[in-house]
């Protein structure tokens, strides 16, 4: 694209326009880099909405593709620039604009890092629950754009449940602000939540108004070692049906525990086939009541072990270990592909059992499964001890089987990571061609020239 860099440097300060091959390489992918990379023609780091607007106006006029990017932690290739053009790195728009205690809301720019936001609201006794395990680095813009979720989903829901309003720059450069500062609105089509989960294909999110809750006064963590996967699944169902709603309830396989033991003292026994890592929150009395109920259920079911961790700092080591599982397992392997098929809660044991049956037939890759059991949001992952074409073929075949299985159980191809390019074909399976056509027409209404993040969501772009 001749003259692109020169043109862009007229729109934003020149040091925030990067075109060296090394920089283009660094922006070629997200955490799915070993599946596919792209090569942008320029990387631009805007600092305010006005700059984003000017950049999009330019891109629209010259039909240059634009791929928004937050922290690049995506697990489906959402910010991988498949058709060149501009990657828009939003990290420099990282200001928390206000925290409104009386309205229980906050205004943020898209590039704010989730953990920084958590810290800032906590200082005021407030709470923003979504906690994808990449929270120390991922951006609120990326969270909104993917409808990110995390262990808190079981009790508190996903990012979408906290979005009250947005500021969005449309592909032609115009700026709109759907939604606002109210927690309910019946004013026409819900554009706010159409952009929520749009994966950068409809416009660039520059700001968001987010709903806040009061900070629960206390926490307690427990680890339950289950004899079988069925037992773990049944325990989850019993706990929830019994009226206890843990803040988090994570399903972990034995393989994950072996890795987590690097962080945990004393190490957990590895006799169990499945583990539940649970966090309870509320007042001390509420927690005690919940804990008693859970202990009762688990004892009745004859689980192998229950460990309650009273000390908050010690409990934190369990959750740190939890968020590092992926990376730790990878330290023993050469490559990983993470899926996020979600199934109805009551189908978890069936799903896990079938997955394990599939796993036992594999010879070149390892199939493991963990997940946010409380809401059926499971993470089947494929690990490669060696990378070669046989392993790739086996992985691809098993991923397709896993996705089909999830769908056959009434699930979805993506519980929280989004579609990107990696799951585009699967979206066709889930939605069918009528819905896909509808999606494409919606896209066309917002982005007539198809410049926003082309090549994503469905097959054959646009």
């Amino acid at each position: 694209m001749k003259g692109l860099a020169k043109d862009l440097k007229r729109l934003v300060a020149s040091e925030r326009v990067r075109t060296d091959p090394e920089d283009l390489f660094a922006y070629s992918a997200d955490a799915t880099y070993y599946i596919k990379r792209g090569r942008p023609d320029a990387v631009v780091l805007p600092e305010n909405t006005k700059e984003v607007s000017a950049l999009l106006k330019y891109a629209f006029h010259h039909a240059v593709p634009v791929t928004p990017r937050g922290a690049g932690t995506g697990l489906s290739g959402g910010c991988t620039p498949l058709r060149g053009g501009i990657v828009l790195d939003m990290k420099r728009m990282g200001r928390i604009l206000d925290i409104n205690r009386r309205n229980m809301s906050a205004g943020v720019e898209a590039g704010v890092v989730l953990a920084d936001f958590h810290k800032a609201v906590k200082k005021q006794g407030l709470f923003y629950p979504p906690n994808p395990q990449s929270m120390n680095v991922c951006t609120l813009g990326g969270n909104v754009a993917t409808r990110a979720c995390g262990p808190h989903g079981v009790k508190y829901g996903a990012t979408g449940d906290y979005v009250m309003g947005l500021e969005v720059v449309l592909p032609d450069g115009s700026v709109i602000a759907p939604g606002g500062l109210v927690s309910r609105s019946s004013a026409g089509y819900d554009l706010t939540h159409l952009f929520t989960g749009s994966e950068g294909t409809l416009g660039v999110i520059t700001k968001a108004n987010l709903r806040l809750l009061a900070l629960p006064p206390a926490h307690r963590t427990a680890m339950v070692t289950c004899e079988t996967i069925e037992q773990a699944g049944e325990a989850v169902s019993e706990i929830l049906a019994g009226g206890t709603l843990p803040a988090m309830i994570e399903f972990l396989p034995r393989m994950a525990i072996a890795a987590m033991n690097r962080y945990i003292t004393p190490p957990l026994v590895t006799e169990g086939k499945a583990y539940l890592l649970i966090d309870l929150d509320g007042t001390r009395d509420e927690i005690q009541a919940q804990a008693d109920q859970i202990l009762g259920i688990c004892r009745r079911m004859g689980v192998l072990d229950i460990r309650v961790i009273e000390d908050e700092q010690e409990a934190a080591t369990y959750w740190t270990a939890r968020s590092n599982i992926g990376g730790m397992l990878l330290a023993m392997m050469k490559k990983a592909i993470n899926e996020d098929v979600a199934v109805p809660r009551d189908r978890i044991p069936e799903f896990v059992r079938e997955i394990q049956a599939m796993a036992s037939t594999l010879s070149r890759v390892v199939l493991g499964i963990a997940g946010h059991a409380g809401d059926g949001n499971m993470h089947p992952s494929i690990f490669f001890p060696e990378v070669n074409s046989d392993a790739e073929n086996e992985a691809e075949a098993v991923i397709r089987k896993v996705v089909r299985l999830g769908l056959s159980l009434g699930g979805t191809v993506s519980g929280e990571h989004g579609i990107g390019f990696h799951k585009a074909e699967f979206l066709h399976w889930e939605l069918g061609e009528v819905q896909i056509r509808l999606l494409k027409r919606i896209k066309k209404a917002f982005d007539p020239k198809g410049i926003m993040n082309p090549g994503k969501l469905w097959k054959e772009g646009r």
């Binding site: 990067r18 060296d20 091959p21 090394e22 920089d23 390489f25 660094a26 922006y27 992918a29 997200d30 955490a31 799915t32 880099y33 070993y34 990387v43 780091l45 922290a71 690049g72 932690t73 790195d89 990290k91 420099r92 990282g94 890092v113 953990a115 990449s134 120390n136 680095v137 590092n324 599982i325 992926g326 990376g327 730790m328 990878l330 330290a331 050469k334 990983a336």
Partner: protein
């Protein structure tokens, strides 16, 4: 050997999760993915291993713009040894010639003579011209440590242990007060101190330049001297010297090098001094010292698990001395050895966050073990003193 080929698998462990964004001081200033461990690993592989991209000026800048602070490795779930990979890459690209010949000669002299005195005198003017003695460096003390303390310093009664003291370059010429405090506090606590003759620089500055030959040259002088000491432990007051002896010197030697077993023996015995004292315990109770201090954790501290908390724990023995914690005690200060001379603006940016954090505490004394942090912070904290934790303990003892 710090050979890039030996790190192929380690580089492949980077899953591109991007969690390193949380703690990389350079990324937190630049906000550019290219200046982040995951991109560095990827680029080093693409350029130096696979040859997909050529070595360019920009690539060298990406390599150079790294503090080797190890924060990313600590954050990395897969524990990728980013600092070693960057050092090995610098070795591959620069082949020991990262600096021009004049600077290399100066550095070599500095390291061989353990300190600044080699840079003063006639060579000093040249050094000054090369930007080697900026205001951030404290002026050398009138009399280096090695001229004040020598040989064996015995305890009054029977010693409960004997340690060798490795005196780093900075303590030797810039901060002999620290060296004095180390010796006095150890002896006061019934530990005999031996200062082995023939020590030179630990080699860290050469490692940062990817100058493997010079790292080895230093090892060949230090290791025999230290390994020959009949002692229970080897202590250093500098966290970076400790890191070198604990985990880098052995790796810098060829696999079949006859020096390796002795380097391993040194690695097994090396301790940072506050960690050592906290481990063996104080025999003399420190009298009260009404002083509020804050503590900046040096980045090079993960070579032993107890080092993170050692100074806090040790100084906790001083009645009335009060630690006011920083909001982010583990956040880098931007010095990075001589990094701050190469990337002034960037280092300034990293430092300013640290300074604001320090000022917020109101503490008049700032403690840290790393002499680079110490001198870099000191120049912007005129109204506070910046010193080594052991100095505070010596003060409490009135030594």
């Amino acid at each position: 050997m710090l050979d890039l080929d030996a790190y192929r698998d380690a580089m492949a462990k980077c899953s591109h999760c991007g969690l390193c964004q949380a703690t990389c001081p350079v990324y937190r200033e630049d906000f550019l993915q290219t200046h982040l461990a995951r991109a560095r690993m990827d680029l080093i592989r693409a350029v130096l291993v696979e040859g997909e991209l050529p070595v360019t000026k920009r690539f060298r800048e990406v390599l150079d713009r790294c503090l080797l602070c190890t924060n990313c490795s600590r954050t990395c779930p897969a524990g990728v040894p980013v600092d070693e990979i960057v050092a090995a890459a610098r070795n591959r690209v620069y082949q020991g010639k990262r600096r021009d010949p004049v600077r290399r000669r100066l550095l070599r002299r500095f390291m061989g003579q353990r300190g600044m005195k080699g840079l003063m005198g006639k060579a000093g003017t040249v050094a000054h011209k090369m930007g080697w003695t900026p205001a951030e460096l404290a002026p050398p003390a009138s009399k280096p440590f090695e001229k004040r303390y020598k040989g064996r310093i015995s305890t009054e009664g029977k010693a409960r242990a004997r340690v060798a003291y490795f005196v780093g370059c900075a303590t030797n010429t810039l901060y002999p007060d620290t060296g004095k405090a180390v010796v006095d506090v150890l002896v006061h606590n019934n530990i005999e101190v031996v200062i082995p003759e023939g020590q030179v620089c630990c080699g860290m500055p050469a490692l940062a330049d990817g100058d493997l030959a010079l790292v080895q040259e230093m090892a060949r002088k230090n290791v025999p001297v230290l390994a020959a000491c009949d002692v229970d432990a080897i202590v250093t007051d500098c966290t970076s010297c400790g890191l070198m002896f604990k985990s880098k010197v052995v790796k810098a030697l060829p696999a079949d090098d006859p020096l390796r077993p002795r380097a391993e023996a040194v690695a097994a015995k090396i301790w940072e001094v506050t960690d050592y004292l906290d481990h063996v315990g104080l025999t003399a109770d420190p009298p009260p010292l009404a002083e509020s201090y804050t503590y900046h954790m040096p980045c090079h501290r993960s070579w032993t698990p107890t080092l993170d908390d050692a100074p806090r724990s040790l100084l906790g023995n001083i009645p009335e001395a009060e630690l006011v914690e920083l909001e982010e005690p583990d956040r880098c200060c931007g010095a990075g050895g001589t990094f701050f001379m190469d990337f002034k603006e960037l280092a300034e940016g990293i430092r300013s966050a640290k300074l604001a954090d320090i000022r917020r505490t109101g503490a008049k004394t700032v403690l840290t073990q790393c002499p680079a942090c110490r001198s870099f912070l000191r120049t912007r904290l005129e109204d506070r003193r910046v010193t080594h934790p052991i100095v505070l303990l010596a003060e409490a003892y009135n030594l």
